[in-house]
């Protein structure tokens, strides 16, 4: 008959075993990518896929950096601009849909939300046509495309967040003399930091990793990093070490954001972006 303390102990051990096993499972793909990136071309084979490299070589990384280097700047410009613009647009839209409703605003919001579900491959052709007609080519056009198609989701996230802010804050602000605009800038914005983190991280990830529009809407000099990545993985005979090294390199900026801002991400979700 186990004592209650022993029961607690076994529960704890089981708990740690479970969580460590799951963690290992989650890490398997990155392990695979990592060891493949350090192998030489000839060593890469399905039969020896799990084995550590016999000879560690960085040729995968040097090739990857040579290919991806020129595109890094483009990706940064694209993703940072689109994320910033997108987040602010979401904030003001969310504020209106949440706190300044008017007749028909619910309908407009619902219609915007439907826009989230359009399959992005099929609008490639009309999108290209539209951007060309507006003379919004290159990175400018791509930024515009991402901002527009991000509107539904960022608006939804911010609206959910603002729903959690009690109206009394706005009312007392009004009483203290704030007008329509200063309520937003002075009261709401400072409270929105967690939501900006959530939305920013989401948009950054989606835009940084997007491939199809990137390749169609930009030309050589303005290609972002995802295009370079596909060049590493393309061709008749794929150099898997280059490809995996490239994948790891291109994931680093986003990973850094997750590692350092992960805490704020959860906090942001905690502060209410989560609730419907």
């Amino acid at each position: 008959m186990k004592t209650s303390l022993q029961k607690k102990r076994t529960k704890k051990i089981i708990y740690y075993v479970v969580i460590i096993l799951i963690s290992i499972t989650f890490l398997i793909p990155i392990y695979m990518a990592f060891i493949t990136s350090l192998k030489g071309r000839a060593e890469i084979n399905l039969a020896t896929a799990w084995k550590l490299p016999k000879k560690i070589t960085f040729v995968g990384y040097t090739n990857a950096i040579t290919t991806l280097g020129p595109y890094l700047k483009n990706s940064i410009i694209l993703t940072v601009s689109a994320t910033v613009i997108s987040s602010f647009l979401g904030a003001i839209n969310g504020y209106i849909f949440s706190k300044n409703k008017f007749k028909g605003s619910e309908l407009i919001f619902t219609l915007m939300l439907f826009g989230m579900f359009i399959p992005y491959q099929i609008i490639l052709i009309p999108l290209f046509t539209a951007l060309r007609t507006l003379h919004f080519t290159g990175l400018k056009g791509l930024i515009l495309a991402h901002v527009v198609y991000g509107i539904p989701i960022v608006t939804m996230l911010f609206r959910n967040f603002y729903d959690q802010i009690p109206n009394s804050i706005l009312e007392s602000g009004r009483i203290d003399g704030a007008n329509y605009f200063t309520v937003f800038t002075m009261l709401i914005l400072p409270l929105s930091i967690p939501s900006f983190v959530v939305v920013g991280i989401w948009q950054f990830t989606q835009i940084w990793n997007e491939f199809l529009w990137a390749i169609c809407l930009t030309s050589q000099e303005t290609n972002p990093i995802t295009v370079g990545l596909s060049q590493l993985s393309g061709g008749q005979a794929v150099a898997w070490n280059d490809s995996m090294a490239g994948a790891i390199i291109s994931a680093i900026p986003v990973l850094c954001i997750y590692i350092f801002l992960g805490k704020y991400f959860i906090q942001g979700l905690l502060s209410g972006s989560v609730k419907g």
């Binding site: 290209f128 596909s230 590493l232 393309g234 061709g235 005979a237």
Partner: protein, 435 residues
């Protein structure tokens, strides 16, 4: 409030429908014949955008051709726009989006044959290059079989840069010796050998994802039908439901029984790896496999790996060719013409092909630059009957190829030859390849 909303919505929808009708810009070509390429003696300069899906291992070959080009035309700014991935489907997405918006590159890579004709020529998008062929004397230097396959009654539409052979069977001689089997010359011999190999636990034929299966199908078709009937199938004289064609499917089904079960998850190199590693005996693949085995796996042609025609296709050369053409409405036709001249030139082809592992189209190439395998392939090319490949767009247009993938996969599941033949007939009719 509702009124404002309504007005805004209507305005937006109107604007949206304006974009829907597409920005149609009239392409004005003031010179002689709008449909033919214009030759002049201007020095080409300015921007030249060439579009391809060569990357990775094929990159160096294209780079060598570009170097050759730049030597002759230093004032041209060549922009190498490559889009890789998905065996060209991404490149096609980008190219077609641009073409639909009348923003063509000066030249783009395309498989010579029906892929080019069905998609671009029929849509009246390409310039007829006959004047260029005449000017450069290519009509006498390129094999006439090839010119026939890549042109139509109305003209010649692209300049082939390289030729690959798709009916090649690869094996490791030392392994075959070890297992005591000889290289099969006919399909029946192959099936007999396959039985022996299977009994020993060796996969007789390694295969990769769908397009490699299509290639295997075309090899079987050539073997079953022979050169004459094979050609008849593609020009509509032989019906898809003819018993001879049904027999092709039956043979193909038999072939599939001897392939590896995990074919769908393997790339073609992984299938080749199976042969090199001894898990499989044979692999039917185009001759880029030679490049892979020589350059990456460092095997010597003849001793490290061996080749033969796929069973039943002795005396025939199933060819495919990458080529470049000039789309109508491109902004720098002079530079595009210069590029095509380089593509068809002796120095250009001899710079490109040794690195790509293919053989030149020109019959006057310097064969000393080529590997042992390529020399034997060039020999075949000069002497054998040349027929077109299905998987690589010579004999069938894109619509057909796309639907054929589905028919093949369905056959894979059902192994019903009659129903596959019937389905092929339907897609041939719906894609204007048969009546």
């Amino acid at each position: 409030m509702k009124k404002v909303f309504a007005i805004v919505t209507i305005a937006a929808l109107v604007m949206g429908s304006i974009f829907a009708s597409g920005a149609k810009e009239a392409s004005t070509m003031s010179s002689v014949d709008e449909n033919k390429v214009t030759l002049n003696s201007n020095t080409p300069k300015g921007d030249l955008e060439i579009f391809s899906w060569w990357a990775g291992d094929e990159g160096p070959a294209l780079d060598a051709l570009i170097v050759d080009f730049k030597g002759d035309y230093p004032e041209v700014n060549l922009i190498n726009a490559t889009v890789t991935g998905g065996s060209g489907v991404n490149a096609k997405a980008v190219l077609k989006t641009r073409m639909l918006n009348n923003d063509p590159p000066e030249s783009f890579q395309v498989h010579a044959g029906q892929e080019l004709i069905g998609t671009w020529v029929d849509a009246d998008r390409m310039l007829d290059l006959t004047p260029l062929f005449e000017d450069q004397g290519w009509l006498n230097i390129f094999p006439s079989d090839v010119i026939e396959l890549i042109g139509t009654d109305d003209g010649i539409w692209s300049v082939p840069v390289c030729v690959h052979k798709s009916n090649v069977m690869w094996y490791i001689p030392s392994n075959l010796k070890k297992w005591g089997v000889k290289v099969p010359k006919t399909l029946d011999e192959f099936f007999a050998v396959a039985e022996v190999l299977q009994a020993k636990g060796i996969v007789p034929l390694s295969m990769g994802t769908t397009w490699t299966a299509v290639e295997n199908w075309e090899n079987v078709a050539l073997a079953t039908l022979g050169v004459a009937d094979y050609n008849k199938l593609w020009n509509g004289e032989l019906a898809w439901t003819d018993p001879k064609v049904v027999e092709v499917w039956e043979n193909f089904g038999k072939l599939l029984d001897y392939t590896n079960k995990d074919a769908a998850s393997l790339s073609w190199q992984q299938a080749t790896d199976m042969v090199v590693g001894g898990q499989a005996a044979f692999n039917f693949m185009g001759d880029w496999a030679a490049g892979y085995m020589m350059t990456t796996l460092k095997l010597a042609p003849g001793t490290g790996f061996g080749w033969a025609n796929t069973p039943g296709t002795t005396g025939a050369f199933q060819f495919l060719s990458d080529s470049f053409g000039i789309p109508k409405g491109c902004s720098n036709q002079d530079a595009a013409v210069a590029w095509l001249k380089a593509c068809g030139s002796k120095s250009g082809q001899d710079a490109f092909n040794p690195l790509k592992g293919s053989i030149p189209v020109r019959t006057d190439a310097d064969m000393s630059l080529y590997s042992a395998y390529s020399k034997s392939a060039a020999d075949n090319f000069a002497n054998d009957d040349i027929v077109g490949s299905l998987a690589h767009g010579v004999v069938a247009n894109e619509g057909f190829m796309n639907d054929f993938n589905a028919v093949l996969e369905r056959f894979n599941e059902s192994r019903d030859a009659k129903s596959a033949a019937q389905a092929s007939k339907e897609i041939a009719v719906s894609n204007n390849m048969a009546n």
